[in-house]
């Protein structure tokens, strides 16, 4: 007897977030990225619409990431010394569709760059590359509150994705994003209750839930991957069941977590690339919409994996 496939009908939809604005939309991007909008769990094409593919963003820094693995440093070479050259390399050599510029150099312990310097860098990046941009702070709340509003203003109208807003520090960034027409990343520490609460707090300031991307924070393979997976799955199930406060796309910082694993530290080894891929593949299945990754080889594999899953 033929087995009957059970088809679930979900009442909810994940909100659709657009990153980047074209020239006729008040920006200067050559293409835009849309994420979210799905009406079912990942890759269950028979159950509901999945209008947008997950997308990989190349992670670049404003300073040379000297503590990165030699495998990564070898791959990018001298371009690491200049974020604009690095960005161009990602776009021209590796066909990056989306860039995530991490402003690590603004951190008081890593160079303490000023808001003016960082805003200048963002303006330059926007001039030199035409893909949409994710602008990511240094993680020091006080410093991020100085640099991110300045960067937001420098990128006004470009519909960037800017983060992170956290429960203890979301007001300054939300106000800036609201004023300059961007989207925001809301970060919660692998905690679905805080993710929901933060989304409510941000939307209470007038930024609609449709402009929020959730950074659920993740662990790499062997470092809490399953925990992150289950939180993302639970949030997505709630979203599809109709909870709008959790119906936002996810951004996952795959590269940052994967390359921290001790298994990647082996010299002269491709293990880090594999670690980054495996972590990405698992979290794609959990519902990741934007994957921020580092190694071009890992990214290439993941992009073709996504194409394959979408049957194209």
């Amino acid at each position: 007897m033929a087995e009957e496939v059970l088809i679930e009908k979900w009442p909810g939809t994940v909100s659709s977030v657009t990153i980047g604005a074209l020239k006729n939309e008040g920006g200067s991007r050559s293409a835009i990225i849309k994420v979210g909008g799905q009406k079912t769990l990942p890759f269950l094409f028979k159950e509901g619409q999945i209008p947008n593919k997950p997308v990989v963003a190349f992670e670049i820094w404003d300073i040379s990431p000297d503590d990165w693995h030699p495998e990564l440093i070898k791959e990018y070479g001298t371009s690491l010394k200049d974020p604009v050259v690095w960005a161009e390399k990602c776009v021209n050599d590796h066909k990056a569709e989306l860039l995530c510029i991490k402003l690590q150099g603004a951190h008081p312990d890593f160079g303490n760059k000023t808001a003016k310097e960082e805003a200048g860098l963002i303006s330059q990046l926007l001039k030199k590359v035409s893909v949409p941009l994710i602008i990511y702070g240094c993680g020091d709340n006080e410093k991020d509150n100085e640099i991110l509003p300045a960067c937001s203003e420098a990128a006004k109208g470009e519909k960037c994705l800017i983060g992170d807003a956290v429960q203890e520090n979301y007001k300054t960034l939300t106000a800036a994003v609201l004023a300059d027409g961007h989207n925001i990343i809301a970060e919660s520490p692998i905690d679905i209750n805080i993710a929901k609460q933060l989304n409510i707090l941000i939307s209470d300031m007038g930024l609609s839930l449709e402009r929020i991307v959730i950074n659920p924070t993740i662990g790499a393979l062997g470092y809490g991957l399953e925990y992150a997976y289950s939180i993302m799955e639970r949030a997505r199930l709630a979203a599809l069941s109709g909870d709008k406060t959790l119906a936002c796309p996810f951004i996952c910082f795959i590269g940052q977590e994967a390359w921290r694993a001790k298994e990647t530290k082996v010299e002269e080894s491709q293990q880090g690339i594999i670690w980054e891929q495996v972590t990405a593949i698992a979290l794609l299945e959990a519902g990741a919409d934007i994957l921020v990754m580092r190694h071009p080889k890992a990214i290439e594999k993941i992009n073709s994996h996504i194409q394959e899953l979408f049957g194209s």
């Binding site: 707090l201 939307s203 839930l209 109709g242």
Partner: protein, 262 residues
């Protein structure tokens, strides 16, 4: 839980007067107040005083549709009044209601199919009001099987166990709660369940407290929908909290507020 606001009913003095004077503003205001308070859908009932219910329901539907696209529950015991309302309705619809009598089922199920409407089925028949759980289940099974026979999707059907006032039929309340639980095992897929909440406190003094205590207990029994007064803030807060405790909603500190963003 699907919340259907009960306040647009000609039985209430303000609505009865508005229908009589054809004052749309009062109806629109009442619709919006209920939606802003958390109603997913609105019940529409011309009330017992209406001389021309088939005309009045059309007027009510048209007035409400000017301010909302939420589903409307057309509440009448007369199929021709419901059909008049369905014809005028652009929003999604809920037929409120059919009884377990074959002649009613044969009229209203085809209407529900034709207009792609949800259907409320009361476990009551011309033989009278059921006295216990088993009689309710029997009547529910009749409604379900009639839906299956006529090709109407059972998951669109809402079975109402007929809630009795606790001050006159105290022994029934427990039977009703158990019936809500057991309606689910009548068929696969199961029908949904609904109550007209305020009946439970009819004639009692502590009406709000009785309503919300019963609603919480019914939710625990698996209730899917209720026709109620959404302006009763404590009632809605109790229902939201019950759903939280039943793990139907994800907790956050502002969970009451999260409900409003649904």
């Amino acid at each position: 839980m699907l919340i259907i606001g009960e306040l647009i009913n000609g039985m209430y003095a303000n609505i009865g007067k508005a229908i009589k004077e054809k004052n749309k503003e009062i109806i629109k205001k009442c619709a919006l107040e209920q939606i802003n308070a958390g109603a997913d859908a609105l019940d529409v009932n011309c009330g017992p005083a209406s001389r021309k219910p088939a005309e009045d329901i059309v007027w009510l539907v048209e007035a409400i549709q000017e301010v909302t696209d939420r589903p409307l529950s057309l509440d009448s015991s007369k199929p021709e009044v419901i059909e008049a309302g369905l014809k005028a309705l652009k929003n999604k619809s809920i037929i409120n209601s059919t009884t377990a009598d074959q002649d009613k089922l044969d009229k209203l199920i085809p209407l529900a199919k034709k207009y792609n409407s949800k259907l409320i089925g009361l476990t009551i028949s011309t033989k009278g009001i059921p006295q216990n759980k088993d009689q309710r289940l029997e009547l529910a099974a009749m409604i379900v099987s009639s839906c299956v026979e006529q090709g109407y999707p059972v998951e669109e059907l809402y079975i109402d166990p007929i809630v009795m006032p606790v001050n006159v039929a105290q022994a029934q309340t427990r039977e009703i709660l158990e019936a809500i639980k057991e309606f689910k095992i009548i068929s696969e897929p199961s029908p949904k369940t609904i109550v007209g909440l305020s009946n439970v406190s009819q004639g009692a003094i502590a009406r709000n407290l009785i309503n919300r205590t019963f609603l919480v207990m019914a939710l625990e029994s698996g209730l899917d929908a209720a026709i109620l007064d959404p302006l009763d803030r404590e009632l809605l807060d109790a229902a939201i909290t019950a759903e939280l405790i039943l793990n139907k909603q994800i907790y956050c500190d502002s969970y009451l507020e999260a409900f409003k963003k649904k």
